[in-house]
Symmetry: D2
Subunit: 351 residues, 4 copies
């Protein structure tokens, strides 16, 4: 226990912050010792500061932790996860990085900065090589590393194994869970028995983040993938799990069995290194004709795998398929924790 790495969470009282708290329970490497939130919460024990919105009640390992202001301090652990709202994340994350903290962030603010890794450990571990550039350019001892948007991650986990066939064009429509909007998030009067065909900023994020994540690290920078991506994003009355309908056009059209083989055989560094939060198979292909489904599949593999099904020819592009991922686990807290695990195992936390 004494050898665990102390970690903190910035924005610990929000929905994603609560998911971090929950996900870090009994983590074999990380010990959650510090929680940061708004001034309003600072000074209160977490059980009072955070109205627990997830299943059950405030977990025992965090109940009695005192909540701090989100300011760098000697108390705060070197490694902090950021679940901060985009309205405040830019400045606070910078302040922590400048003060020498390693900020592993789920916030969108710095994702598209040229010198910030938008990391998916199975896909682009080499993008971590942006960190020295970032530290040099900004004069920071610390650093910021980000994970993708909760719908982007599902798309890139499905596309990465297929990159070998030359991804040319991607059309994706999402059906996204309400938990993706935080708390109170989507009003029940808006989404009960309804579809909202709009999520502010989401489509642009999916289109651009995908290109960056699948891009190559060349000459100290990330060269975005040249593929064209178009996204249509919808909110549906589902609690957890974003479902995507994807059509892809390849440069070298593979066979269906080549695609399924590529998906099923895909392994990344987290799997090879056996990182604690890594799912044994990052992508699971399902043969059932009507799967994956969010309510039935999203909690499998601890929420860290992406589920794919219904691969079939597309009359317009080459293939179409359905993909599903857990938006608050693989799409948020779990993604950041896996990022930190990779960074630790690769020695980046020591820099």
């Amino acid at each position: 226990m004494s050898e665990k790495i102390r970690v903190g969470v910035l924005g610990a009282t929000g929905m994603v912050g609560q998911k971090f708290v929950s996900f870090l329970r009994d983590h074999p490497w990380f010990d959650l010792t510090w929680l940061g939130a708004s001034d309003r919460s600072a000074g209160k024990p977490y059980r009072e500061a955070a109205s627990w919105r997830l299943g059950g009640v405030t977990p025992p390992h965090a109940r009695d932790l005192m909540v701090h202001e989100c300011k760098p301090s000697d108390d705060a652990p070197r490694l902090v996860f950021s679940a901060m709202d985009a309205s405040v994340a830019t400045e606070i994350e910078r302040a922590f990085a400048q003060a020498g903290h390693i900020v592993v962030s789920n916030s969108r603010n710095h994702r598209m900065d040229d010198d910030v890794p938008l990391l998916v450990p199975e896909i682009n571990a080499d993008h971590l090589r942006l960190i020295p550039e970032q530290q040099k350019k900004r004069g920071w001892k610390g650093q910021i590393v980000t994970n993708p948007n909760c719908s982007t991650i599902v798309l890139v986990m499905a596309l990465a194994p297929l990159k070998q066939f030359g991804i040319r064009r991607v059309m994706v429509t999402t059906m996204q869970a309400i938990s993706g909007a935080g708390y109170p998030g989507v009003a029940s009067m808006d989404i009960n028995a309804n579809v909202i065909p709009f999520i502010g900023g989401e489509e642009d994020k999916m289109e651009r983040e995908t290109q960056k994540i699948l891009g190559d690290f060349l000459n100290h920078r990330v060269e975005p993938l040249a593929a064209r991506v178009s996204a249509q994003c919808n909110r549906v009355p589902v609690v957890d799990g974003h479902t995507l309908c994807v059509s892809v056009e390849f440069e070298n059209k593979p066979s269906e069995s080549e695609i399924i083989g590529a998906l099923r055989g895909w392994q990344g560094l987290p799997q090879r290194k056996g990182l604690p939060s890594a799912p044994p198979c990052p992508v699971i292909y399902m043969e059932e004709p009507d799967r994956p489904q969010p309510r039935r599949d999203v909690e499998r593999e601890n929420g860290m795998a992406v589920f794919i099904g219904r691969l079939r020819p597309c009359p317009v592009f080459d293939y179409k398929f359905v993909a599903l991922g857990h938006n608050t686990v693989r799409g948020a807290a779990g993604a950041a924790v896996l990022n930190a695990e990779l960074m630790h195992s690769e020695g980046w936390l020591a820099r």
Copy 2:
């Protein structure tokens, strides 16, 4: 009252049959006098034969009608609407047409027959000219005319006004209401707080019916539109209303304002003739950033218009947008009734 045209409904006890009964209430031209259903229901008054699944209770104009077997007879009106299940529709509809009945059908069975009009009155009234071919070829005094699948209709109502720009490729993902599956239809254990990314046969229907509906009547036959269409169909926990996310590539790319102008200015024969069930504007373009939405928009215009919104450039094709239509009204009972109104006003019911 005495001058109204007597009409019947085949398959009157199912969900679509009930929607026909409901939609025909107080119809200015048609008088619902005859109901057909399975042997099990025959001989019972409708109030007993049909367990009413729509809002309220069995409407008074149908409560006491006696239910008949679905067999042609002198009792049955010449004009019959068919809401029959696909498992029995092929033979029964043929029998009625052969016996001289005009069968205006919502069933899928004959939609793709070469000599059967797949009619949308605003779009392809000239396809009715298949009827003489049909009667000659089959030796029928009667006829079968069909309306499209409940998700196809939303797509073609959105595309027809844009046909002038040369539709080359269409990518569509649907989020379909549970009422589209009839009763009992989708189990609540399957769809509550869930998405089912599969609807049997639906994608193929959307892809092929769209080409036929938008095709040209040439040389006594319908030449399908050459555009390529790819559909991904999903069930979502919405009661009524299919929502579609559409991307389109044109031969002659119009401007956004040309598209909106085309959608808003679109009028068909039903509007020009003032048919009783015709919406004043068959397509309504909404400016709100998050509309149309099924629960909020589907009942407007008596369920007979298609609502479109969110027109914006598509990074892969030319434009993308959202479309919504009422699956059991414009996508089923209302569509067939409008078909019959057009046929009456054009003189086809007299043939």
Copy 3:
């Protein structure tokens, strides 16, 4: 048109305010000419001030009305409906009444004041005789009249016809729709596929308002009904319609047929006078074993009737049954408009 009574709505931009706007469309007696809301909205046209949350879009009769501050003025009509939030209603309603306005309020603030009628036109029209007391005591030229809480109304409409049998004890559990909580109201993360067994203040309102409404006007005051009432209130994922499970103990236990007869035969002043918003039968008893149901029955009778079903013996009290009413129509806007119709027809608006 010129002879219609001009009316206004205080708190016009909220959910209940929107329901007032919607309900007053094409009203035969009242002409909506004035809308009041917070300072933030004042000076804007209604279409901009109010983000329309009901079905469809901002209705044409209100789109271009300018929104005013909620202050008494010569511009404001004498008759104003109040849909104000409880946090501000006390003072503003008083100010309007003091300035000579007739405030027909849906807000809870003054409901239990001794000198304020808590009016249900079918039940206690004589409670309007509190108004002279109110005006005398408070020195007002205007007046305040209130309607019950959205769940209370369903209960009292069911109990009033049975008062003749001597209501001794009432146990009621509610399953309330999300629209009862306004907008944004209940977060979807709280209610999606869930039950919330708590609605702040609701149980106390049901228990006390019921006694006042069913009380007798004696000696210039209302003597509450002596019956004991216990309520348990729950929120369920339903859009509109509060469903109540009720058990009642009587002093003189009637037979089942006497109860059904009392419910079905019940008529009040609104029915006898043919008030525009009065349902022909204020209570509708349904024989079906599984009715009433909110989604199927709540919109019937324009939302103004209460539906009752499942009358059966109660092993603990005498009888139990299910009741349903439309919480934003009969439980809010429609209730207040019917109150004003009664007041007009009884001459109270002229005082």
Copy 4:
């Protein structure tokens, strides 16, 4: 592994059967080796016979088990759990008991038989003493032991700790999850955004089973509790978890703290014996003002505890409160498995 007790499941392909299969995975005492279902399924491997309706996919320990007909045979283990549909359970369970099997049944058919224990291990372990009566009377070497209906169990777990205060009258209204109706069960067209105020036979079951379970074993029979119970049962759009609103009148009215103390301090034989499926605390009292809630609490404690909250005075009886339990775990499969664990630990399996 070799020392585990072999067990089977009758009716293994239905929803409750699947829950048994799922619940028995990795059970420390029982080894699932035999699955029985209808003739249609017999002879197929379970993965083909059962369309898996729970989360994830058919679990590995059952995938390849062959499905048998539900007939007693030497192959079938002595201990069988019954998840059979009520339409067939009576005869089949009798046949197994007659052939010497111990039938631990979730079916309702034999629950109210005078000589059949309706067992809740925390409450009435002594009712197992009916077994010798049953065997003698029926001439069986085997036996039938049952667990309560899925809503009854929640009520009796809440009442048992309070029995000491003399339960006189109980009023309960339920809000029951869709999983309680099996598969396909409730049609989504019936329950989506709706409440169904009727569940066939449920109210009678709750009223009578409660009296039997809380009754005393005297003179070789169970003397039902004299308390009067009235139930109103509703279906709501929740996946798992029945929520109950309860009002109770006592002979010796306790204080609130006495009640909470009784609930929290309650322990039964399963806790004292540390049975594998026993929750450490069978009843958990929650202080939060709006809990328990099905979606947030039902999966806690492995679904085996009952959650209670909102204890407060009742203006009609003494107290009212809210109770929640997992209908397919503590209300079905988990209940039966705990019954079998108790029977094993008490030596009844050896008889």
